[in-house]
């Protein structure tokens, strides 16, 4: 039995009403690579930020190397030999590699000697671990893979024995990721303990010794990697739940209303997030896009709805092209019949401080029925909002209430009512039931089926596999920005799970 490097006992943390971590116990053996897996928002990053002293736990105890410790600030964690590579790099962009490495660990008040010392120490680290970086290069000129290497060097320079990596491969190309894994193996051989946070099952299987699964802020299981499987982990991660079976008849697909051809999209860091995707959505069908969060679904939605610039490809809405230069006017797209329920209702879908009736028509406010000459027709807007409240059972039924005061499910209904009642041709829906209570989920699912039966083309993107399976007429699986397979609605969960984990289609068929 190996020594225990870190033991967490009963860690809990809340942000307002959100329980990010509930009573978490975790034991990490020294000299191993320990994976922590879970969906986005499962609380992995919060837990690690607590370990690194960035946040303080509300309750619980941390033991490092068998001793109970208090970690109030990152400097406490650093002193205990804990280093962290954050998901978003903590680097000063216009500093050199050397300056970034010594920041906070300069030693002396004057830089001259500390820089000289750091330079030789850095050379040693680079040699020992194969982490070559030009110490005088400026960070903003380096590719992300090298920037990450600087983060690792930073931690090692501070004498870290325990290295936490938060979603380290999210910004890396597959080749860079493989290189990173080799470095991690080597660090392990040197006796370092590594904690790898990820939502990618394949990485867990490839590199970890042990794996812990988190779901909705709780630690649901810990396994030896050799004795578990992708299927088991996926099940633990998503959580087996009663299938929300929705009553629906056969689809009767009509004309193609939305066609996506060769679409490629990069994120702001220049990483390809959507890679040459092509598909179409016909009138009267729901096409579901399944995938583990962070595999390019958000960027796909942004590109189709004209919010984000596409690198190449075309999107055709009812036979007419959509402007993909990033300059598309959302109002114009709405007019042409594309309704959009965004993934993030708080930041994109709603203006939370507004009254309900204002959000119930926002984006369509140029329509004549809401106007009275150059002015808004407040009476008409409120009457319209009351109608929607009735029809969508929005509670409390108060069109003058601030939107922020509605529950998540009711806020989502406000967005859905706004978009669906415009009688669009194409409805693009992102994560329709994220953070929505069970009752509202059922209602939302029913409304989506109704839209299909009215002959709308519905594109549904969701990380909830159950939702995809029960609603979709065709299921497309997205992994690492690519379409890796298409299945019918009767595809098994394990089959889709494997596709979502990036396991090759051939293997999945076996």
């Amino acid at each position: 039995m190996a020594e225990t490097a870190i033991e967490l006992k009963g860690i809990s943390k809340s942000f307002g009403a959100v329980h990010a971590n509930r009573n978490i116990d975790l034991k990490i053996e020294a000299g191993t690579i320990h994976g922590i897996i879970g969906e986005n928002g499962a609380g992995k990053s919060t837990l690690m930020s607590i370990l690194y002293g960035f946040y303080q736990a509300d309750r619980g105890r941390i033991d490092v190397a068998g001793k109970t410790v208090t970690i109030d600030t990152p400097s406490d964690a650093i002193a205990l030999g804990i280093g962290m590579v954050h998901q978003h790099f903590m680097l000063v962009q216009n500093f050199t590699v050397l300056e970034n490495v010594i920041l906070g660990a300069e030693g002396e008040a004057l830089l001259k000697t500390s820089i000289a010392k750091a330079r030789s120490e850095l050379e040693r680290l680079e040699r020992d671990y194969g982490l070559e970086v030009d110490p005088d290069a400026v960070i903003e000129d380096l590719p992300v893979g090298l920037q990450q290497r600087v983060e690792i060097l930073k931690a090692l320079y501070r004498g870290a024995d325990i290295l936490i990596l938060d979603e380290p491969t999210g910004v890396l190309t597959p080749a860079e990721a493989d290189h990173l894994f080799r470095i991690l193996e080597q660090l392990k051989d040197e006796g370092k303990t590594i904690i790898l946070i990820t939502h990618k099952l394949r990485e867990i299987m490839a590199i970890t010794d042990n794996v812990s699964v988190m779901r909705q802020g709780a630690m649901v299981a810990t396994r030896e990697t050799a004795e578990t499987s992708v299927e088991e982990l996926a099940e633990l991660m998503v959580g087996r739940r009663v299938l929300l079976q929705v009553e629906k008849g056969e689809a009767t697909p009509g004309d193609v209303l939305l066609a996506v051809e060769g679409l490629t999209v990069k994120d702001s860091r220049g990483v390809t997030m959507v890679d040459n995707m092509s598909f179409e959505v016909r009138a009267g069908e729901i096409v579901g896009i399944a995938g583990v969060a962070g595999n390019g679904q958000s960027q796909l939605l942004d590109a189709i709805t004209g919010v984000r610039k596409a690198v190449s490809g075309t999107v055709t809405l009812d036979g007419e092209p959509v402007d993909l230069t990033g300059a598309a006017d959302p109002a114009d797209l709405r007019e042409r019949g594309m309704a959009h329920v965004p993934e993030d209702r708080h930041h994109v879908g709603l203006v939370l401080p507004f009254e309900e009736n204002e959000n119930a028509m926002l984006g369509y406010h140029r329509q004549a029925k809401y106007l009275n000459g150059p002015f808004l027709n407040i009476e008409a807007i409120r009457a319209d909002a009351r109608e929607k409240i009735e029809k969508y059972d929005i509670r409390p039924p108060d069109s003058r209430l601030r939107t922020a005061n509605f529950s998540g499910g009711n806020q989502q209904k406000i967005v859905l009512a706004r978009e669906m009642e415009q009688d669009p041709k194409v409805l693009i829906v992102g994560q329709p039931t994220r953070g929505v209570d069970v009752g509202a989920i059922e209602f939302i699912h029913k409304r989506l089926i109704d839209m299909r039966d009215q002959g709308k083309a519905v594109l549904l993107v969701s990380v909830e596999l159950d939702e995809i399976r029960s609603l979709s007429d065709r299921i497309l699986v997205m992994f690492a920005g690519r379409l890796v397979g298409e299945r019918g609605p009767d595809a098994s969960e394990s089959e889709l799970g494997l596709l979502m984990a990036g396991v090759e289609e051939k293997e999945a068929a076996e």
């Binding site: 990152p74 400097s75 650093i78 978003h88 920041l103 906070g104 660990a105 002396e108 008040a109």
Partner: protein
């Protein structure tokens, strides 16, 4: 020779007019490099000038004046810090508020204490930072060119002038050669990096605004105890804003800040020099135009001639740990 003599005189007053700009701009440099924008340089300078004038009038000591100026302007800098660092308030609003407080309270207190219409009493020579004659200034006066440059241009300024010029290389050294400077620059670019490196973002920013307070206090003291013999209401006359412009113009770097301030000072000196003198081809230029020239040039220079001035990336943004 006559032309040369006039040139020396213009350059001499360039130096005099640049010093308050230089001190204020260096003051702003510390704060803004740490990510705290400071539009309240003007107010702190004004309050400093008043405190210096008042304290020197009461005690008869220029040094007491300087001390009082620094204290009051550090106090105002801390108010700005409290609002924008601790309470994460809007830095522009806080800075503007400080400007208003300084403009109003200096007049009220001045009138209440000295009853001279908001002025402080005119100071005798020993209560001021008077000009210092460097060694041999008189002896070499008659040496052509170099002698005149030495005795007129280089010698004969106040202690604060020499201090201001020494502060330029000193600031550069602090910024690029010390641990404090490294952290200061880092916190203005990416406070999260500083925080995760185990350094307190707030304490670092507070130290930066204290540096700002010290230097704006010196700038104010220069106005009331070196350039003038006492405080006159609104005597900063927008210099805090010009200093801010010089800071942007110099892209937040100490040595270019000095040159920018000298340029603005020169424009000012030139405007004063040619007042009432008809220019060849143009003829008589209205005084108002000449007075406006530095400001017009500021706008033009800032608008097009310096390329993109990239401020510290985290400038103006209060640091909140992201969830």
């Amino acid at each position: 020779m006559d032309f040369f003599h006039s040139l020396i005189l213009v350059l001499d007053s360039t130096v005099r007019l640049s010093i308050p700009l230089l001190l204020a701009a260096l003051a702003g440099l510390y704060s803004e490099r740490s990510g705290v924008f400071d539009i309240g340089l003007e107010g702190k300078m004004l309050a400093g000038a008043f405190a210096a004038g008042a304290a020197a009038a009461v005690t008869g000591s220029a040094w007491a004046g300087l001390g009082a100026a620094m204290l009051i302007s550090i106090f105002l800098a801390l108010v700005h810090g409290f609002a924008s660092i601790t309470h994460r308030g809007n830095q522009i609003v806080s800075g503007v508020a400080i400007n208003f407080i300084a403009a109003g309270s200096t007049i009220i207190l001045g009138q209440a204490w000295f009853r001279q219409g908001g002025r402080t009493p005119s100071l005798p020579g020993e209560a001021r930072f008077s000009s210092i004659d460097l060694p041999f200034a008189e002896a070499v006066r008659d040496v052509p060119i170099l002698g005149e440059v030495y005795s007129e241009l280089i010698s004969g300024h106040s202690l604060l002038t020499y201090a201001a010029f020494l502060l330029v290389p000193f600031t550069w050294w602090v910024l690029f050669r010390t641990r404090f400077g490294l952290r200061l620059r880092a916190v203005g670019e990416n406070p999260a990096a500083v925080d995760t490196a185990g350094i307190s973002v707030s304490w670092l920013r507070y130290r930066a605004v204290i540096c700002t307070g010290v230097l704006t206090g010196m700038a104010g003291t220069y106005l009331s105890l070196a350039q003038n013999a006492g405080f006159v209401k609104d005597m900063t006359a927008g210099r805090g804003f010009i200093a801010l412009a010089a800071l942007i113009f110099a892209k937040w770097r100490p040595v270019p800040v000095m040159f920018a301030c000298l340029l603005f000072g020169f424009l000012d000196a030139f405007a004063i020099r040619i007042q009432g003198t008809p220019l060849p081809l143009i003829g008589q230029v209205p005084v108002q135009f000449m007075q406006a020239l530095p400001y017009i040039l500021t706008v033009v220079l800032l608008a097009g001639f310096i390329g993109k001035a990239v401020p510290p990336r985290a400038g103006g943004v209060p640091y909140v740990k992201e969830r």
